[in-house]
């Protein structure tokens, strides 16, 4: 095996008409193209969800603002949350996993390429269905309306009594459809990683990204089921007169919470474990050292996966569970902190004694480490039941989970974008624009989400379209809103950079980062079949072995 391109030469063909290009993308079953489709879908929804967030922040810039009506504001936070979790974070994670997992384990495609395409299109249709509510939400009542029940749609707000028309049905069906897509993707990840590894790649030699996607896939299989079950029960309530969650007829509001959060909390790890995966690939390469404590990292990931199924009721400390149940869920939640802490220490251990290169992907990873540390610590505060009684449902919680989802997951994703963009496009991005994006986003992120903790401590609940003056909330809300514009500017620079680099960036070559995993052994972008010959590996870092035969990777 050589480090250079081992692709077969492409046959020179006449440029195809655009319709043929579109047709080839729509009908593709190639994991790389499907990965890119997932990522593009997610970027479109990221912009939509970002606009929704901006509308909310403008409304909250001063107390008693009249920028939007309460009804519209409630639709905005519902759509923002639903969009960002189900149609940005999930697809983008699946997209990178789709693109990278087969390349990193030396496979030619995912295990089930057609299921893969089917899963993507279900996700896309799920998103389209959700947004159709803007047109058809009131059904025969007339004008359209998006769902306004919040992204966790607590019963009985979703019952026919409190949610007339069809907006909630669009929400239910959108998630049901995309949930089936998620299951398909998860089956594919697990099957691919278990069955499609190239010769020599034992489980213990897999890149951490593959390990973490395996855990993510297994978790998706388990968590989407209760969500789907709950959506079907809700649909039965709404269409067939069932009473699962209809409190007016003796149903249970708390039952919905249990169903939703046993999905909802592991879901956070479904999203953050792939973020860990990016960090675990990028930090070693830019530190020029192998990951510190590989077996411990694997164990910690699997551990987080298991424990995360036992923490869901920490979202429910205020609903009146008894003190023993509350204490139990406080313990399990705090326990998650242990493997998570181990990971942070291992990443620092990887950097320790290395020779750090602060390229854009590494900058995003370092920001991830700081921000994820803070997100974890505010998580410990929220796990402390009495503290949670004050913080729960306030802006402190909003700040905490945005610290996780933006400060950790989105930052890791930006790092991944810059790191693998040369592989996906064959061209380098512009480093100065990358750094500009980084600094704009860091400033915007910290302006918005650092200061968002404070109104929560001063009693400001989440999901309010306006607030009373004189409670000390004005200045913090103003600062939060200002930060949004820095983040928006960062995103513009990001998109412009990628678009410009795609057209006129300098050629990347197969291995621009002098990296060590298999995806860098094939050309950029890789050919449809990935590898002309199936690679054979003898350690965790096959390309290191090739470049340093005198000091081969430690193979345990």
């Amino acid at each position: 095996m050589s480090t250079d391109s081992i692709a077969l030469n492409a046959v020179n063909a006449a440029p195809r008409p655009w319709s043929a290009v579109v047709h080839s993308w729509v009908t593709t079953v190639d994991h790389k193209r499907i990965g890119i489709l997932y990522i593009l879908l997610a970027l479109v929804f990221l912009v939509i969800g970002g606009i929704e967030a901006t509308i909310m922040r403008i409304q909250l810039i001063v107390p008693h603002n009249h920028f939007v009506s309460p009804q519209f504001f409630n639709q905005m936070f519902t759509m923002h949350g639903t969009t960002m979790i189900f149609f940005v974070a999930m697809p983008i994670v699946f997209g990178f996993g789709n693109y990278l997992v087969p390349l990193m384990i030396g496979a030619r495609d995912m295990a089930f390429p057609r299921v893969n395409a089917w899963s993507f299109w279900l996700t896309a249709f799920g998103g389209a269905l959700l947004y159709l509510s803007f047109i058809g939400g009131y059904g025969l009542y007339g004008a359209g309306a998006a769902p306004d029940v919040g992204w966790f749609a607590y019963a009985p707000l979703t019952s026919p009594t409190f949610s007339v028309g069809h907006s909630t049905d669009f929400w239910t069906l959108g998630l049901l459809v995309s949930g089936i897509g998620s299951i398909g993707a998860a089956v594919n990840f697990v099957a691919t990683i278990i069955c499609m590894r190239c010769p020599g790649m034992t489980l213990g030699r897999m890149p951490l990204l593959a390990w973490m996607n395996l855990v993510m896939g297994a978790m998706v299989l388990l968590v989407i089921s209760p969500l789907t079950a709950a959506q079907i029960m809700l649909a039965i309530d709404r269409f067939l007169g069932g009473h699962f969650f209809d409190t007016q007829a003796g149903g249970s509001a708390v039952l919905w919470m249990h169903f939703f959060w046993i999905f909802g909390h592991p879901e956070v790890y479904v999203l953050v474990i792939p973020a860990f995966a990016f960090i675990s690939e990028i930090v070693p390469v830019f530190s020029r050292k192998p990951i510190f404590g590989y077996p411990v990292m694997v164990a910690a990931t699997v551990g987080i996966g298991f424990v995360s199924f036992g923490v869901w009721a920490h979202h429910m400390f205020t609903v009146g569970m008894n003190s023993y149940a509350n204490s139990f869920f406080a313990l399990t939640t705090m326990v998650v902190g242990v493997p998570t802490g181990i990971k942070i220490f291992n990443w620092i251990g990887t950097m320790w004694g290395g020779r750090l290169q602060f390229k854009t992907p590494m900058l995003f990873c370092i920001a991830f480490l700081f921000q994820f540390l803070i997100a974890g610590l505010t998580g410990i505060m929220l796990a402390c039941v009495p503290f949670n009684w004050q913080l729960s449902g306030s802006y402190f919680v909003v700040a905490h989970f945005h610290y996780v989802i933006v400060g950790a997951i989105l930052f890791a994703l930006f790092g991944a974008f810059y790191y693998w963009f040369p592989k996906m496009s064959g061209r380098m991005y512009n480093e100065s624009f990358g750094k500009l994006h980084f600094w704009l986003f860091v400033i915007g992120f910290h302006l918005t989400f650092d200061f968002m903790h404070i109104p929560g401590l001063l009693g400001m609940p989440r999901r309010i379209y306006t607030y009373e003056p004189g409670r000390g909330w004005e200045i913090w809300n103003l600062i939060c809103t200002i930060g949004v514009f820095f983040q928006a500017a960062g995103i513009l620079v990001f998109v412009a950079n990628l678009a410009r680099s795609l057209l006129s960036g300098k050629l990347a070559g197969s291995d621009p980062w002098d990296a060590w995993t298999l995806e860098w052994s094939t050309s950029s972008p890789p050919p449809e079949y990935n590898f002309a010959q199936t690679p054979t590996v003898a350690s965790r870092r096959p390309l290191w072995d090739l470049k340093h035969p005198e000091d081969p990777d430690l193979d345990l």
Partner: protein, 340 residues
């Protein structure tokens, strides 16, 4: 001397009202507790914050040190650093230490959780049933036979003779959450479920908060006011709330309008045919400082606007516009203003 007693009662009431009027609400802040549950939460919160702060300081320093110390010099030639794959001793250390921290934090948490949550009401406790409605609060004092709305009056609880208030929390429709940060953590009001919480404020004054669980369109203006009265003021308030509704000949026209329109479907005025319970009880409407669950001050203009066009004050509230002509509107508001 019964006359003197009545006079002092009236005076107390007058001064109480005056005191309220000048008394600006206490700004919510979870770090300035003024009641035992909030204070216990504050203590454990500080403990958690200190531990988190220490962890932050250690990890932050390690990270900053690593970034500054190990950055690659610009001008040296390329060589790879020593390839270190891990260390079991170090892994063990940074596993065991966090486990111990978690253990300590958990024990402290469980202790405070139990002490706040499992407290039993003493004999002198005031019992109140709070029911959440879209988008207002109903308060009933079963032992005193009082029904009121949105503005909760409770007695101050002195350390010498504690009289904490125990709330039973119910919901008539969707989920709500009762949260006065200075007095206690929040507890949800959930349909088909009976929750409880308690508080024993040490100082008098007006404490504000609001619904903390999204409950529908006007969740934002489901505001909450708790008046912690001195023992005497509370007694006076109770006596006043127990009085029957005022009935004055001068506003009989307004009263007729009230009783002949849809008002009575939702509102109650004790001793009249108005027995609706979907909206706030109006028997002593004018004893409250705000209307529309704290969304507006209880002034003549606001009251008139509220009856005429509720959307102007609280869009999405369930109070319908009554579509009265100007004459009837004035008569109706005059009647409401006699409900002291």
């Amino acid at each position: 001397m019964p006359g003197g007693k009545t006079l002092s009662c009236v005076l107390a009431l007058f001064f109480a009202r005056a005191a309220f009027a000048s008394d600006s609400p206490k700004i919510p802040n979870i770090f300035r507790p003024e009641s035992t549950p909030a204070d216990q939460i504050y203590t454990i919160s500080n403990f958690t914050l200190i531990i988190s702060g220490l962890i932050f300081a250690v990890v932050f320093s390690l990270l900053v040190y690593a970034i500054l110390k190990f950055r690659r010099p610009v001008s040296t030639d390329d060589f790879e650093p020593a390839q270190v794959y891990g260390s079991n001793q170090i892994e063990l250390a940074w596993t065991v230490i966090p486990v111990l921290i978690v253990l300590v934090l958990f024990l402290a948490t469980a202790r405070v959780t139990q002490s706040v949550q499992d407290a039993r009401p003493p004999a002198a406790a005031v019992e109140v049933t709070a029911t959440g409605h879209q988008f207002w609060w109903e308060f009933r004092y079963p032992a005193l036979g009082i029904v009121t709305a949105n503005e909760l009056h409770i007695p101050v609880s002195e350390t010498t003779s504690p009289s904490p208030t125990f709330l039973t929390l119910l919901s008539a429709d969707t989920d709500h959450s009762f949260w006065i940060p200075l007095l206690a953590g929040k507890t949800d009001l959930i349909p088909n479920r009976k929750n409880s919480m308690w508080m024993d404020p040490h100082k008098t004054g007006l404490y504000v908060g609001q619904c903390a669980q999204y409950c529908g369109t006007q969740h934002a203006k489901m505001l909450l006011r708790v008046y912690v009265d001195s023992r005497e003021d509370f007694e006076a308030w109770v006596a006043q709330q127990k009085r029957p509704a005022a009935s004055s000949e001068s506003v009989v026209a307004g009263r007729r309008i009230f009783e002949e329109t849809a008002c009575v479907n939702c509102h109650a005025v004790a001793g009249t045919i108005a027995e609706g319970r979907f909206g706030p009880d109006l028997t002593h409407l004018m004893s409250r400082q705000t209307i529309a669950s704290g969304a507006a001050d209880n002034t003549h203009e606001n009251l008139k606007l509220w009856v005429k066009e509720p959307e102007a004050i609280k869009p999405g509230s369930l109070m319908p516009a009554m579509n009265l002509n100007e004459h009837d509107l004035d008569a109706l508001v005059s009647y409401l203003e006699t409900l002291r």
